[in-house]
Symmetry: C2
Subunit: 188 residues, 2 copies
DNA sequence: GTCCAGATAGACCGATCATTCTACTTGAAG
DNA sequence: CTTCAAGTAGAATGATCGGTCTATCTGGAC
């Protein structure tokens, strides 16, 4: 009912989410319009330009990715198992053929203008991800949640980089073992 | 004596090393020529094109960076202290104002053509870096050098990403603490 | 002095880029 | 039936891109 075939705005967001990730934010407007099956004018009416679409796509992707993290964390009962299970989900994510690394870091690197609206979106994503890590660590009464969150965040980003550059080395597993050390207690 | 002012080839490499890092490999040829104070024709005579210069710059940067890693490792006596000291050097590196993350990962992300010669250079760099980590780990009789090298490599890449995106959080220190756990033994 | 390789300076080309614009279609409201 | 907003299709624009080309200059080798 609420989806009598998505409108141009929705199709542009979907196409951007796919192409900006698969081919980078430097992908041409023509390719976006073709994949979204949308008229050129619609892009500028809805998003003001390509930069606006990039920011909007990152905003939507952040919502979905954070929901993905929430779902991954909700899959276990104990906070410690939840955080460790996160790296099992990352392992599956990396194994996907279309995995290309961290969307947000790639956008930051590609857009050298520090005032580009995309940077605010990537920064917000990282802040919200860190909030979730701290929440979990506090819930398990970790001695130093801030420090541990920094370490877990570093392990996540490192896993994504290693997964994008050399996938046969099972980086998520290496990161999981390190995460277990960060969280203390049993090794598995 | 051996430097009666560097020729166009050398100036192009220097300019590329600077600009490809500071503004990304997507930087225009005109900017490169201007910074190198070199005629347009020289670029194509010496490197065949922009792609050739990108690959040549990555090759030279890899040599210098590996020398940097060697120097960092040579600063201490015990293999364990050497590897830990590496993260102290990374801490200083990140603190630099012009630090912009990992040059090789940024190049890989920016060049979506999988056949671009730059990818071979970045892959070679990572392989050689990993060889050094394994060498150190073997020298300190680590139980599982391969696995530990993967973990240390992941910590290094994670440190560079975190340093590029949020520098006030002292990622190198967090990584050093994790590295100490990887290496076993005393905590500091 | 002559010659020539190598460098410089800069016009030029075709392709591609993001953006703007005009003209036409569609579908629902009044 | 008319109206009007929203969408489509695609030409046109100006800028920028990497790459090619011509013309000129410079500094040794001979």
């Amino acid at each position: 009912m609420t989806r009598p075939s998505p409108g141009p705005r929705e199709r542009l967001l979907t196409a951007g989410q796919h192409l900006f990730y698969a081919r980078g934010v430097a992908v041409g407007v023509d390719a976006l319009l073709k994949e979204a099956k949308v008229a050129r004018r619609s892009l500028y009416e809805h998003f003001g330009g390509k930069d606006g679409l990039v920011a909007a796509v990152l905003h939507r992707a952040a919502e979905e990715d954070l929901a993905w993290y929430d779902a991954a964390l909700a899959a276990e009962d104990e906070p410690r198992e939840r955080l460790l299970g996160l790296f099992d989900r990352l392992d599956e994510l990396i194994a996907n053929d279309d995995f290309r690394g961290c969307r947000y870091f790639a956008s930051d690197v590609a857009l050298d203008d520090p005032d580009h609206p995309a940077h605010a979106e990537t920064e917000a994503f990282r802040r919200r991800l860190r909030e979730r890590l701290i929440r979990e660590l506090e819930e398990m009464d970790h001695a130093d949640p801030e420090r541990a969150a920094n370490q877990l965040h570093l392990l996540i980003e490192g896993t994504l980089v290693m997964g994008a550059t050399q996938d046969e080395r099972q980086p998520a597993r290496a990161a999981r073992d390190l995460a277990a050390l960060v969280l203390g207690g049993g090794g598995a």
